[in-house]
Symmetry: C2
Subunit: 229 residues, 2 copies
Amino acid sequence: MNDTSKGRHCYAHPHPAVTTDIALFTIRDGRIEILLVRRAAPPHAGAWALPGGFVEPGECLEDCALRELAEETGIKGVYLEQLYTFGDPRRDPRERVISVAYYALAPLQRVAGAAAGSEAAALAWFAVDALPELAFDHGAIIERALERLRAKLDYSTIAFQFMPRKFTLGELQEVYETILGEPLDKRNFRKRVQAFGLVHPLGEMRRAAGRRPAALYRAAHPERVDIIK
Amino acid sequence: MNDTSKGRHCYAHPHPAVTTDIALFTIRDGRIEILLVRRAAPPHAGAWALPGGFVEPGECLEDCALRELAEETGIKGVYLEQLYTFGDPRRDPRERVISVAYYALAPLQRVAGAAAGSEAAALAWFAVDALPELAFDHGAIIERALERLRAKLDYSTIAFQFMPRKFTLGELQEVYETILGEPLDKRNFRKRVQAFGLVHPLGEMRRAAGRRPAALYRAAHPERVDIIK
DNA sequence: TTGACATGGTGTCATTCATACACTCAAATA
DNA sequence: TATTTGAGTGTATGAATGACACCATGTCAA
């Protein structure tokens, strides 16, 4: 809290408001989904928006993004990366608001609870190819986040941020195919993943109904996104 | 300008200050150089800083970066790309300042004037491997900009932003070698550049002292940075 | 019990791409 | 006219990539 008469915060020069917005993606049933919040108040009341909010004094940008995500969705412990800063002066009709956009990735299991017990359906998952009406410039933010995600798939281990601790190679391939939007050759895919040493076999099997059990693996470096190639 | 008693700008919640900072690189004599401004006033008086300054109301971030660069250095018409937003709450000792960092590239010819007639040597070029004492977190900004530049060299046509309208293939190769910090095979380099159709021959020659004249080329798309490969 | 079903799991060959490598050419200058 | 300096050019080898088909193993239903 700053000095003020009337409990206001005053500066010698005009200051914009600064927010973070978070595009949190997961993968469900062969689709990329994103978590959105329904806006109750104007502007854009009734439209859907990215979770996010104002940066607090003394808080760094990444902490702000993590806090807003936790406050608005209850979700913690996801992969988070700064995406781009959107600063068009008319992007928010109320006042000048600059948004530092982040994108976040998580395996479905870690976020499955979110939006389930959400009061008044204020929180929901949407497939990114079937988005509802979006507030502000959040459509552009999502588009850019997807671009980044698709690009990074080719030269980094980012896909593992969508994987649970244990997974089969078939599940991993499905994640790649979902993000790229095209099928991959099974043998070449497995060859590559193994050649780069991206996974370690767990020696366990996943038994699934109606088919042969699959070997379970874990990511070689689940906490890290490495550049490969 | 907002409402105010005492000509100040007041808000219901605290707002950070927002600046843009610009890392402008060029290439001279086989070195990457960056343009810095000597700080006259505290904090960090006497240290060198990136050109930059506060975002004005009604001004988008990119325009702010271009304006600050022009105001502080007189330079216009360079390639500009948003780099990263630095928001550590303690990065400026005076108040909370969030900086949207950009990096810019230009051929030496376009910026050779800058820092020449600069009053009181307030403006100077430094080789990036011999930087002076830097203000704020500008060292980290420069480091990240160089990382981005080196990465983009491999999969985009960004190197052409360092080239003048007419250049020889030898000059182009020198730029690549300077950024990568390692020599390249001449024949393979030329093969590649031609195979991707990145240059068009001008049918002119550059006559240089003491050696065979070299064919001059122009960039196929000088205004654009394309992703290749 | 057995047959149908669904996904798991595996290797080779052909092609393309990347890399290493050395000499002659043309102009300027001494 | 001999020397110097960068300009300009092609090939051969190894590595990486991409195309491709079949049998295995479990569940479930008839």
